[in-house]
């Protein structure tokens, strides 16, 4: 699966398409962290609107991604979780914990822009 990773200013943007396998999710996580390091990014927006299922593995992988980028000083925002996917996550008891979420890409970027910039 080819997941394009874009750059907008200091923010890295990726959009999941279709149904990634576990291995593809891990590849995406690795690629995003690599980009954050390479580009010295301060934020990541991951659009999961096309994701059909957010099970325990996907949830844990995204949570780990957010944790890893945070250690590099970049905040990850998950955007576009579908209502039925959100419902299933709650039923399952799955949580993204302190990972911020937003409605869509635009809202995700706005969230990152609102953050206080420590070195601005």
């Amino acid at each position: 699966m080819d997941i394009p990773i874009l750059k907008q200013g200091q923010v890295v943007i990726a959009t999941i398409r279709g149904s990634p396998t576990d291995a593809e999710l891990l590849q995406l996580r690795a690629a995003l962290i690599q980009q954050v390091v390479r580009l010295r990014s301060t934020g990541v927006v991951l659009d999961v609107a096309a994701l059909d299922v957010m099970d325990s593995f996907a949830t844990r992988t995204l949570r780990d991604l957010a944790q890893m980028t945070r250690l590099r000083g970049a905040e990850t925002v998950i955007v576009g979780i579908q209502p039925e996917v959100a419902f299933a996550m709650v039923q399952m008891g799955l949580t993204l914990e302190q990972v911020p979420t937003a409605l869509d890409l635009e809202e995700g970027l706005a969230y990152l822009a609102r953050r206080p910039q420590p070195f601005a």
Binding site: S19, P20, T21, D22, A23, D52, V53, M54, D55, S56, F57, R60, Q82, P83, E84, V85, F87, A88, Q91, M92, G93, L94
Partner: protein
């Protein structure tokens, strides 16, 4: 891969060996739910449960299968999922059904989570004798 809707009375068997099969199994389940006119939410709950059950097979047993079929209650219809493997089995089933319990260092939410997603849940397992989980989701 795209799952094609099957005839309503057909049983679908998906061999589970790799993470790719996990995706295939849940897509088959979703398309079965769609042919039965499940709501998008119920179809997603079913697909999520299949994803968890299939992953347990890959993670703990390495090999197994998922069987999906339409069930006719009266008057409701539903989908039955049987996840079967000949893996190491579960020594303490009661414990495995409790939230927070896991033997693989994962979240341990697998089976209790699946139980909450579905309407009916049955498990048969013994140490060294494999595991069979049967779950059903009825159309409201």
């Amino acid at each position: 891969m795209t799952a094609r809707p099957k005839a309503a009375d057909e049983e679908i068997r998906v061999q589970i060996r790799t993470d790719r099969d996990i995706v295939a199994a849940r897509q088959q389940g979703r398309s079965m739910a769609v042919t039965l006119d499940f709501t998008p939410t119920d179809a997603t709950l079913l697909a999520t449960a299949i994803s968890e059950l299939a992953r347990n097979i890959v993670k703990y047993a390495r090999w197994g299968e998922i069987r999906l079929r339409v069930i006719n209650g009266s008057p409701r219809k539903g989908v039955e999922v049987v996840a079967r493997d000949d893996g190491p089995g579960i020594a303490d089933v009661k414990k495995a059904l409790r939230d927070g319990f896991s033997t693989s260092g994962s979240l341990g939410l697998g089976l209790p989570g699946v139980m909450r997603l579905m309407d009916e849940f049955e498990i048969e397992s013994a140490e060294f004798r494999g595991t069979t989980v049967t779950v059903r989701k009825w159309k409201p």
